[in-house]
Point group: D2
Chain length 339, copies 4
């Protein structure tokens, strides 16, 4: 039975794998200074309409987050995140391990707003407290929601007003940018953030996050190396992002992931099960009776339990990817209907 546990259950999209095989015996220098990474960086710059952007490729999301945030902050500075933010909850204190506090704001939909950011700022007024300096958001968020262009523009203005830097974690940016509810483009992201990532791991690569910096950060490669975040065979990152970005594959397969998610969502809703938070992306959070959850698990379906809603109901998380077959979705819906 299919696993809807996450969007990194399989290897890489076949085109990515093919590119790795075809270039396998090329000799290049190491550490991401090779022609493949250069070409992939140019692709990113073109897609972002950002000829002067600094581009770096890292292996994973937690690694990217900790390197970026540590590079942007002075020791006494802190990052602001939604209480559900990945850097706050799911990185085993990786940010704190670089010496920095994560200041949180309670957010119902996984998103930050200027009002939430300012509520954190107003609580930090002297040298007895950390100085919040980076605003961390993710798109899509950890609960599948999206930022609109208006929302992101408002955050940008808030950051400008308070001398803050805006970092958008795009681990699931493919799903965000291809969502029917999205009105943001890569050039918008470049214009509105100080740094953002384009996630490969969750959208067809074996691994890899492309980092886009509006202003080059001095000695960023030193920061990366110090955190063990420079891949010896760095070209593997360049080759994968070339394969994903040069012909629009990245967006095509993200759209497929979303389509499969919406097929799941619509089918589940048609069966009468509610979704407490509407998600226009590849993560769906339906509430099912506990008996249905158990029955699906017994059949071999895999997914994460998000939380217990009440004694009889559980909110689960279903995630689709570039690799999710429509048949698997339909089989799931059929099995759910039979529960």
């Amino acid at each position: 039975m299919y696993s809807f546990r996450n969007d990194y259950s399989e290897g890489a999209h076949p085109s990515v794998l093919k590119a790795l095989c075809e270039t396998n015996l090329e000799q290049t220098c190491g550490y991401g200074l090779d022609p493949r990474c250069m070409a992939a960086a140019d692709l990113v710059r073109n897609l972002c309409a950002a000829p002067n952007a600094a581009i770096h490729f890292l292996v994973g999301g937690t690694q990217a987050n900790l390197v970026i945030i540590d590079a942007l902050l002075r020791p006494y500075e802190a990052v602001i995140a939604a209480h559900t933010g990945h850097v706050n909850v799911h990185e085993t204190g990786a940010i704190e391990a670089t010496g920095h506090k994560v200041c949180t704001a309670l957010s119902n939909d996984g998103k930050l707003t200027p009002a939430l950011v300012e509520s954190v700022l107003s609580a930090h007024s002297s040298e007895h407290m950390v100085l919040p300096r980076v605003v961390y958001i993710s798109d899509t968020t950890e609960i599948g929601t999206l930022y609109t262009k208006a929302e992101l523009t408002a955050l940008r203005r808030c950051c400008d007003a308070h001398d803050l830097l805006l970092f958008l974690d795009g681990a699931r940016l493919g799903s965000a940018l291809t969502s029917p509810e999205n009105d943001l483009t890569l050039p918008d992201l470049f214009a509105l953030t100080d740094v953002f990532t384009i996630g490969g791991t969750k959208n067809g690569a074996l691994f890899g996050e492309a980092l886009v910096l509006r202003t080059p950060c001095a000695h960023f490669r030193w920061h990366m190396k110090q955190r063990g975040a420079v891949l010896a065979k760095g070209r593997l990152l360049g080759i994968q992002f070339q394969a994903l970005l040069e012909n629009g594959l990245y967006f095509e397969i993200a759209r497929h992931a979303n389509d499969m998610a919406f097929r799941l969502r619509d089918g589940i809703a048609a069966l009468g099960f509610p979704f407490p938070v509407a998600s226009p992306s590849n993560q769906q959070f339906p509430v099912l009776p506990n008996a249905a959850v158990a029955a699906l698990q017994a059949k071999g379906y895999e997914f994460e339990i998000d939380h217990a809603v009440d004694d009889a109901h559980t909110c689960i998380r279903l995630v689709t990817s570039w690799a999710t077959p429509q048949d698997a979705v339909d089989a799931f819906l059929k099995d759910l209907a039979a529960c």
Copy 2:
């Protein structure tokens, strides 16, 4: 022209790539808890005759070093290394970034001895100084030399006498174990160290270091995650180490790398050029006239400059790998002879 710059200029050995392709659409759970990593860990345990060893797979060498050393040390404790040790020189302060001092001993051949270790210990006598606790060695060393079983046994006794932990960095362990001068086995390494790594990056994998712990370290996966060292598609590490280890491929290709290095060495020596430090492994350090160095570079050969010997001579580093063709070696020797 061929690049002898390092042993990670190409992608992966074709058998490794084939294994990645064949398993690409398998669904597994993430983070290295999948059946492929379990199977690869069992292979490592079998090869080490260590049924109770704790095995973890990490992406890169600096990452592995910083995670291990930080996991083994308390905040006030330090690591002892040769002054040429990778953790001292070539990791951008990665160990210090986890809060720990690297105490160095001057070593002519890249190796530590009990006397060198004890010279560091004797300089650290009170709470005003760090407490040395881990001894870091590499095999092969950064300059191509090897530890004998007698030397490693002596270090083990020294560590036992002083309550120290012994960590052997095996980024180039394949070359070490297949060197004609080697008398160590994987079970020896397991018996004589507290932790060691089996390097994949420099011996045929796309990336990957297998970590072998004599005693399981509590919450080691927490340490890894906190440093961004847990790969989402962790099975990629398991698949690669399975391919390398299940039929002896790892040793076969390391032997090839050594053979190519010895062919280089012998050919260069036959031309009358000296080698200040004898290396029985896949890194060779001949001294050439500056004119010859320039001529080889002009022809397109790539290699690292190790150091200037005098105004007219330079010590260069030549590295071979699983991928180095004999033709490339012979062409280099022919071109050198013509210089």
Copy 3:
């Protein structure tokens, strides 16, 4: 006019200063290993009925908190605190600067309960999250409240049930232990916590916090030194704690501070001003009309603004100390009555 800003506005209690003067020309060894510190440590052990306790003396509260917490935790472990906890808010990320996350629970009265602790634990379930390990509480709390013996016993049981360590920050322990509502003793604190501090800075010393560890922590002096927390003339700490503890001065002057606070509290209440949170200790938080606040400030009284209650009212913080004269209290009340 008198400053009620804090309990460290003056120097030291005259008896403390006298002891410093009388011992000034004694020669002792440095770093807290001298006979004065030994004697003061014995006094603490006697008062705590804890002949085997490890005692250390540190200069300040933030310093003590960061050294203790870092010493107790492994890198991936975290501390649990009330959201108002000093380590969470008022130490400029000192705990995070040692690499550790502060996990917070929302608390109305500044205190933690087993339920609050367990709510944090239940949100941390795997290696993707930090591992909460130390419970940080303060007595009195940052808002003047106290722990009862029943409450502290319940927390101890909760800690035992979940393998947690309990750390009580006693920066204002004098005020706590002499409060009419207190039913805890120093032996109780020793029996119920893993480590606690006896604050000197806020109760008559020039500076100094005595640290009481139920179980000696290996190499604690190394931890201290590494954080710059070993005072060269360490005997200054021993001399002061001797003066404070050998004849009960510590408790006598804390009782005075409380008495002055209650005189303030009762006088203010008699004038009809409310206290949102009842405080049985030397910090009082009345709500005054903004005009009264401004009038008192215009007269030269100093105090901290805690928060704006509404457009017309402000909650202020008034703190008394060993040095607060009754006349100053009475003058304040008279001036407030005239506002």
Copy 4:
């Protein structure tokens, strides 16, 4: 018998203690923002002819060193020190605990030179290595030697040429500036360094180091607070430095310490014992027969053993201070003569 173990065996100079007593009941705000600290900072600025210098007061030397160095460096940057430098040897890895490597140069006399600094720079050439950025020196050095104005000027030029910052640790600056061999002034130090300290602990204060920054460091008080280096009753630092600096007491008592050291040195030399390194300051390092060392210890004299010279001789360290009576020196010499 007198202890020559260090220059912080007694309390404070009586004038310092008197000032503390006289101001004891003044109320001031905390954390070093009070009028006493302001006045002391003005005194420092005047003495340094540096009206725009930023002045901060810290409690101890290791604390000052770690706060300054961490404030000056980005995460991947390192400090250069003589191998005997206090930050390298005697601070339990305090600098590394803030994440930074200490790069060392072998120095026979405890001093750095441009050549030594450049030897470190030349070994750090890429993002695989730390970036040396701060040059740490001490005056006097850990072995009693002094910098001349020519030497310090040469280091300044070296720092300017390589974009380095120069930090002079003046824990024993009093002894340095009053040495007969000294040709530096406070204005020179201000002009030639980026930051230096004026040590109080080892020259008559209970504790305290005054920090002089040529260019104000943004948010330096945040750095201090985060490291637990803000003293609640900060005025204690201001009061002490006022007492020491307003009438030249600081220099007068340092001169006394030097005079007593020279009396010791000349007396010991007259007895025929050698001094391997000439010291023009308050630390003297004679070589004595082991029997003499034992005899002096048996009589109750205290001093540190520096190192064993050979089987029969030991180099000891004798330190004098503002408090050392001439009688104690003469008694020591007499007892040594009798050995």
